[in-house]
Symmetry: D2
Subunit: 344 residues, 4 copies
């Protein structure tokens, strides 16, 4: 009883991670792989230039890549995962939804649209109900669900765990891996022996997406959370794993023990890709570290550590695997949630 | 009319930078090089294993290294630069001062001692007057002056430029280069494809040293500034250059233009190693970057950029060369100030 | 029916890889972990500072580390894996063998001793028969078996596959990962944005160990192969995976097709840690690459590619995971061979 | 008495190095900067996105970039330095020569053309006489001179120093920096924690260009040297500086002392950019290293070390700065030679 799925933008860095995780997935079976016009007609092996570090799944390797259009995808595909460049996503995702496909998308377009659920299942699964509003307004048979930006996903679950503390202010500095920009996004001459204190549009995503994710669905719309977030984003020479320094301030003083207890106890979900323990708290002051901890929970865990009282509240560090928990795994998990909640 | 100087701990990473900058210095002439017992008696060439990237100065290379004790240093040396490990510094620096030497030290011991001037010449040259208190209290003919920690030096000049804005709160996240830990301080397996969100004691240094540096000398003691600093420190895979994300909050709202104008106009000093322009403001949002900008002003400039309004004030990034402006050059500059103010 | 084993030098980089692979091993069960005097009495968790990238095995974490001496290891341990520093290995390994233990060692001491088998199971399993000579000569109840140096293991299987081509000369240039020097072996300041064209003693190991491995056991001694090897070794900024450029020359001309066919068809062994396919031949000219291919065959495969006619014969590139196939996995595989051949 | 020069392809990585070195050059004055159509009309500051690590020369920054065509370059420009992509160079360089310009080019097109001098001044300055043949055959008022590929330049001077030893065979393995591929040539995901054992066409360049450089001009053509070169090329994660492992074989045995003496005594030239000492011999076995030694002689020296007897002759390592000695400085030096020999 598997669901037939497709990957839009299957040859990119996130697309390859999707294929890597979909191939052995017990609930999904790949039936369509799309890419740009120039790759259409090639085998996936030829088009993808596979480079994840694990061997390419041999059966998927021989599939033929199609162009990215509803007419090129078989009708019996139930669910599409999209890792298209946002400009392309903006153009074609609505066409797929119009044609009746359910799309779980990692692309940044329409993430902040009022009728598009922006979902991290363990944080705000109930936002999926917004799809009824979406279908009403857009007249779609299909549906469009988004996961947030990789750097947003890394710290939002830690804030969600503290939701009853009434957080008022958050400062966050990110140390982001190069894979977050895609395979060709950062040149070696830009980043070797260097760091770049700017990622276009990233700080705004952290500041706005977190308020939507932490908000509540009142039956008609998402009411954003009131927390104020100030973000500063940096690219550093790591391959995978976004590390973030976080300072939180709440109306009432809060202890480190209270914070770590809430994070440890914050529940995961019984979905296939959700880790048993969503947030892992490290006692060692120098953890989490990208290379050592990004693989935890098969790349789907959030790791935290370095808790300390700051003059203004509490500070800590958090880490997630940016192309798994922060991208491919995020879309996949939204697909699992859609299946679990009966949308497929 | 040159001053005869020595270097305590001349073989380490900062010691080598000191030698590299002292060799062509017009005011100073190296007459003594000390190291640990095991190196005493060797040539500097043999003891240092030179590795700065420039050729070792040939005349200095043939000098004999002595052990680190007052009796091993010629009496006619007027000024000692110290880059000793702090435990060693704590033990021997007072002995040198007692023996009449003036010591400009980069070691972390006694930086926060009430009668030890902690000085960045362009920021608080007037704190040097504390030496009278020091000599009174300790009965020394010599004197001990400290420069702050490399990560402190990077952002304090930018706060000093804003001193009349009445800053109340500062958040700072650092992305620090491996050279800050000394030649053997960070192993390659720790840092390749990785980042470490912890540097022992570093956050406390940023928080406390900055208040002392920005304080005022009232004739008897340093009255610390009231700014509250919350710091989070990270080691990343860069060789030289500490990059820092800074958020400032003041009682009254302040504009980006006001901030950048004050930084641009903040004066340098007419000392040999002071750059013409102390703080360089970049318009490009992705600058400063460690590899591209650490060499500016021969490694003695502070570079800033990425100015943006945050929900709570203004945020920006700053950068300085950690082993030049942040260590060897800092001690050297304090030596130049001591000479200029008649302490030699 | 598992064999009780111990790890000598269990806290180092190779020791941790041994523990990581022994914990889930179906034939072996860890009963002893030794380290230096200073770690004895601690839990393995405290002593090891675990850093392989996978979580520490929880049951092993709570075991108590002992010092490295026969009296400290339970008598019922059947097999010891040794990843001791070579000076320590030279001192204590004979004592363990004297006391009746069978030792499969990765340490470089005694690798070239005439009565010590130097073994890569898929290449020269029959050299194990030299143990009878060893027991005769040394009067041991135990036994000492060595695996070669990591850079030797990487290219020797490719030469073994060509054994009937009568190779006369081999040139090999290595690009070696930092983990080959142990956790603290290469500092970050040595290797970031750099390469070091020297690894002490390494070139000699490649040149001499390969002749012993490719030699034949005549019932009394190993008769070395006559191939002449010229090696040049480099350390580069990679974490794991030694890449090697190889040029071969034979008396008779040889075609690329002949070479790749022999490598593809070279048999593996039915031991637990032997990969199904020992040597994987890549058609893509830019493979193998350390990060992409070191994990193949769970780190136990040899990958080759870049075949080209040179003016003097054939050239190609080969790659193996240096701390798995080249160290921990090599010792483990020798242990499996010892079990298979009835030495335990 | 300065010569008016222009730079074709001034905005690329090598073009920026050319501008960096031409700006303070005592013999040349920049009067023209060309780039692709899309940059024409912009200031050099806007078009270049300067990133050499030194500040952009302020006077050059304000110059207007033109398109790359003879009609766009002032007539009074005497010499053009070309760092165009080879496809573009193949198209436009002949047009410039036809129009009367003397072109010193780093582009790879036509390097092996029989009537184009391929020159490293200290090695084969006399090949410049081939220009008479070129002008006869092509009917040009201008002239086209090439410098070799960066990896060829690194080792050819060391072979030239040994020219009377009658070398028969050379093996060379290269460890090449990412800047050799241009600013966008190598992505960070390709090279972080990795090495790539393939650079398209590079091995052939080493093998063929070296024979032409070491050849002799017989008045009519270049008679290639008979040395056989087998090359294997690798890209590694260094920014600048190509390191090469070299094995040489000669008909008669040769001692290390003989080799190092010849290299040390090999003469430089009295041209502005030639270093005082062309080849620097290191005694330390682990030198030269890219980061430590690429800057020697302002990036124009060749450094060698690691001399050792191999079973077949002598082996050593050599290093040069690939974008200075191997590219921009190489073209510049050829320009200085052209001036010195009266071609301007």
């Amino acid at each position: 009883m598997t669901v037939t799925v497709g990957v839009l933008g299957a040859t990119g860095a996130v697309g390859q991670r999707l294929v890597e995780h979909l191939d052995p997935h017990p609930q999904f079976e790949i039936a369509a792989l799309t890419a740009s016009e120039s790759s259409a007609g090639s085998t996936y092996r030829a088009a993808a230039k596979w480079r994840t570090g694990t061997p390419i799944p041999e059966d998927v390797a021989e599939m033929t890549v199609t162009r990215t259009a509803p007419s090129a995808v078989p009708d019996d595909v139930d669910l599409l995962f999209s890792s298209l460049p946002s400009a392309v996503g903006a153009e074609v995702e609505p066409a797929f939804c119009e044609a009746g496909y359910v799309v779980s998308s990692n692309s940044s377009n329409e993430r902040m649209a009022p009728d598009v659920p922006l979902v991290v299942p363990e944080v705000n699964a109930e936002h999926l109900d917004l799809l009824e509003v979406q279908r009403d307004e857009r007249g779609w048979d299909g549906a469009l669900v988004k996961n947030p930006n990789c750097s947003t996903i890394t710290f939002v679950p830690t804030l969600a765990a503290l939701s009853d503390l009434d957080l008022e202010r958050v400062h966050v500095a990110t140390l982001q891996a190069v894979s977050g920009a895609g395979y060709d996004g950062v040149t070696s001459m830009e980043i070797l022996d260097n760091a770049v204190p700017h990622i276009g549009g990233e700080e705004e995503k952290l500041e706005t997406e977190s308020r939507k994710l932490l908000g509540t669905f009142d039956g008609a719309e998402i009411v954003e959370d009131s927390v104020e977030v100030a973000a500063s984003c940096n690219r550093i020479p790591t391959l995978d794993g976004h590390l973030e320094n976080v300072w939180i301030e709440s109306a009432e003083p809060v202890s480190i023990e209270e914070v770590t207890t809430k994070m440890t106890e914050y529940p995961s979900l019984p979905l296939h890709s959700s880790p048993d323990q969503l947030i892992t708290v490290f006692d060692e002051p120098d953890r989490p570290q990208p290379r050592l901890d990004r693989g935890r929970g098969d790349g789907m865990s959030i790791s935290v550590g370095g808790f300390k009282e700051s003059p203004f509240g509490v500070q800590y560090n958090c880490l997630a695997h940016n192309t798994i928990r922060g991208a491919a795994g995020a879309s996949l998990l939204n697909g699992e949630l859609l299946l679990d909640r009966g949308y497929l």
